[in-house]
Symmetry: D2
Subunit: 348 residues, 4 copies
């Protein structure tokens, strides 16, 4: 058994890691930390874990983590992991960071997050954990930067087309919608039930910090450059992200049918245990992946406009956070990639 | 007092008409019809109307309607009003049709609705009731075709830019999201609570019948041609539509700031009682117009991509259906446009 | 026109008062206060009020209130109005207090609210504003203590039976369920969307501060003594309270049918504009009174157990707060009781 | 491996059985039937099961079931299993029936279900599968009648008090609330999203068919007689039942504290893997057991009224249906009781 720690276990991503790790056949959850609730049992903060995960929460201390665990998952607000990661890596702890600090180059981070980035030296060691597109590098990694929730859905939905030069990568439009858990458990008026229920809005329009992450990794894995309009919206529900992406067809794809494009997507994902490309005419729903590490994708060619429309869905807390992190752990350890992740969507 | 009839009073648009008309100072609700519930009191079908609107529902009969009412609102499934409208107009009844039959030319109707269109002669008499952009023609009309819910939000959001040649009208992307009431009260698995709640999906992608309505009237009121990608999505909530539209800036607008574009929108809508353009940086929410005839609009110029992003929201049952119909009644009758519509959003 | 002030206008009860008062034909909303948002426009705090109620919020100052208004509505957290009421009444301002401070005798207040009660002298001037049962005293009042949301639903549902000695008043069980707005707009984990949606729980079991209010006024208006078990539950929705009450039939009622009991209820409420007793076999729903000052009641005699079951529903923010307050204003002023309150439920 | 069949796999209880059984270590899901969808893949009806459970649905045929499976789960509307059970049992198939047909004696069934009951001979073979209270008989059973969803929550919450003569069993009040999935996947206006969301109502008051099931088994396992008022309510959410039960303390319990009663409950359930008794002052929430076979219970003694209040929660589709059925399978087979049921609640 490999021993793992969850640093920041009382946020929604943290507690979702706990949900997955307490049932993982090879990983042993050895430690959970929370600076705000240190000394308290996790099951006091989350009574649903009573009898399942009654760990005492500890304050973060890199020495303690290094003593107790081989791998640390960091599930923290942006800006916090920058300082923790070096302290853990110096002590030989492998790290999977779920925060935004290491996903994009420092200057982009500074511009979009309005915070100091980590040092280049550390950042460059981070392997971007979009497993399906970066599996080989993740396999050898000791430090993985787990993708953001919106970027995971957007990249999985767009990369087959971008990589194959089927759409104009510098003119993409990504209209994304997320459930409330994406904003975490911190209380504010923006996630008050009475303000969210029976309501829908766009937010951070043209300013969302996931924009550069999407562009940067579209360029990296798509082997070109990319420019996107990205709009985030808040759905009156807890879990789930749906991305609707629009790309202008280019090159020979301008003549292609939906079926032919579908073949490209199938080729890209046929072997993937967590990506399902829907048959033409069928569209994915967030509830169909709920609670699982799946990403479902639907697509069509719109002949009238010369565009392709792709819809991709994930559970933001699983494939968009904790699940993909465990998937990366599995790859890092050489375990079967689906280990601990063979979840059946909870429908309805 | 003008006497009005609601034909098809037991659907959601019909019962919303009842809500507005029973409190209208100048219109007297004289008759409500429902072929499926004829002979039953409306308040048996909708107990919330007990003591408020206990009318007996009648089967549709053009003679009876003509006897009882000067104006008839038709709130029926697509395809039904085609036959009813001529029978009413022959008898001198003014008509406000909330269905889709008369909104677009026959060939487009046939192509997108897969139904026979009404005769051209009748259709050409219909005045498209997008009040803010067609007020003068509505004022003289005896037959108004009320806009669809999605088109209302999309057209109000885009027309100031399109009409002023600020965006490329043949490359627009309209990503629209609607609450469940948009699909009516008919029961099917698609509106079962357990399937809709905590769920989000796109539907009729690249095939939605509101697409040609948007294109056609963008062209008419925008005085040019238009081509749009339109995607509809189903929100886990009852009321409300939000449209996110993306247009490539063109001409001198390529250099314009958000503020300058905002001025154009303000000029377009400053006098309008039901359209509110949000200050730059503020974005509309569906709940902020809930239960009212308002349309709120927010916008920004995205310098990085050379695009403009517009978000518009309405209550699909009010401004997207019954409210705009009453607004058109007011204009037709020469009454103050806000009569019976001075509703305060029910927030939260 | 009578000039009115809303003290505490940025909470949910306060903004609901604004919704009703800006459309009231005889009351002029002259002032809105908020200590936390003084100097800011109300429509900045609530953008849905833009163009409808753009008042500048002011800090509370009894002299200013007295200058600007004849009547002040107080919509404040428990404990605050105790100090404000005397300062307003000394200056001749009539007061309608929506808080809990003056609804029950001091010792009960201290026991259940764990706060200092107001002085007896002031409290004794307060008229309990359960309009249907205390109309005459409200008519002559200059200081009304508006009932709590749960007590309004419970008392309206139970009083006809209790007053007529039909049920054992010292053995009542009141199982109550409320939407989230009942807890106000203050942010805390308990009203975080992700914690409330798809969730249901009881809270403050056997400890809720509305218990003594229900018992006390059941005794006053029922002309006897009363003892109740009262349980509050949190519904995953915004507005609405439903109370299910159970009483053991007593005296001759033990032999009565549902129809006969129904007659008693009809007699009690036949003249009431805001109370609707449902026909036997029909049960009220919270949505059927949504946004209105209505209280709907359904009931049955359960022969097997010798009990009567009563279900009553209100919109907690209207009949349970702002609406009943305006109803009381109307009565105090001698205006028609439904003035400004002829609202049609927003259904669906 | 034991081979199992799910008869009626396209309802919500059926598909929940599939969710559990495809991951069960010892049971092999060999067959799924649906008369309405025979010949179609289950994953066409439920796309979330694509790649997980692509079985072809078959029409029910007892011979085929007997060939393919050792155990059949029946998840059918009330009245249907009466005829199927004998045909399966004659062929040596063990049966776990999730319907209501075999839970109560024939005359009660006829009275409350308004349908013909199964023959007494067959019914008497059925072992009532309330596992925690009937484990020994389930262990030897070849035919289990799985409890109803409401009865499961009510019985688990009340039996420790009733069995120990702590409350008056003939005066219990059970106020129950359920999510929409309890009514199944059949479409009707009562589960239309727009009618259910932001709404709450009681239904079948004093007439619910689970009433005699609760009374009958309270009497059996409580070793006395019982009489209850049972009221069902519909929550605006998908999954979850919460029961609030009120009992008058009797005998020496009249003097007991909450802590002492709590000890009785702890004694009753300490060894139970699926029942968690909350510490005094803490109350269970439906979301805390979501997706799992857990039942959480909270309780208090209300000194003022001499009553005890118990709150119990379950996931109606798991402990209230499919999960308890698998638990019974495990017991019948002599497998560890938690096999395939070691689920972590999906929170939030």
């Amino acid at each position: 058994m490999i021993r793992v720690a969850v640093v920041g276990a009382t946020g929604y991503a943290g507690v979702e890691l706990v949900r997955l790790l307490v049932r993982h056949p090879e990983a042993e959850l050895a430690m959970v930390t929370s600076d705000s609730h240190a000394g308290i049992q996790l099951s006091r903060v989350y009574p649903h874990l009573t009898g399942i995960a009654d760990f005492e929460l500890q304050a973060f201390d890199p020495d303690r983590v290094a003593e107790e665990a081989n791998v640390a998952f960091l599930a923290l607000p942006a800006g916090l992991s920058s300082t923790m990661v070096p302290s853990l890596r110096e002590r030989g702890v492998r790290v999977i960071d779920l925060g935004g600090d290491f996903r994009i180059p420092g200057p982009l981070f500074r511009e979009w997050y309005k915070k100091d980035p980590p040092s280049d030296a550390v950042r460059e060691e981070a392997v971007y954990g979009l497993t399906e597109w970066n599996r080989e590098r993740v396999a050898g990694a000791s430090f993985v930067s787990n993708p953001g929730c919106y970027p995971t859905a957007a990249l999985l939905g767009l990369l087959p087309a971008v990589r194959n030069r089927g759409v104009e990568a510098d003119g993409l439009i990504i209209d994304a919608k997320s459930g409330v858990t994406g904003a975490g458990r911190g209380v504010n008026l923006g996630n008050h039930f009475a303000e969210v229920a029976e309501n829908f809005k766009a937010y951070k329009v043209a300013e969302h910090q996931h924009t550069p992450e999407i562009e940067y990794h579209l360029a990296v894995f798509g082997q070109g450059s990319a420019r996107v309009s990205f709009t985030a919206h808040l759905l009156p529900m807890g879990r789930g992200i749906l991305v609707t992406a629009y790309g202008t067809l280019t090159g020979e794809w301008r003549e292609w049918t939906t079926e032919r494009v579908w073949e490209v997507y199938q080729d890209a994902y046929r072997q993937e245990p967590f990506v399902r490309v829907q048959p033409a005419g069928q569209w994915p729903q967030t509830k169909e992946v709920r609670g699982t590490n799946l990403c479902d994708i639907g697509l069509t060619v719109e002949r009238r406009t010369g565009r392709m429309i792709v819809v991709s869905v994930i559970d933001n807390l699983v494939k968009g956070a904790a699940g993909q992190a465990v998937q990366n752990l599995n790859v890092m350890m050489g375990w079967p990639e689906t280990m601990g992740l063979d979840l059946v969507p909870m429908y309805p």
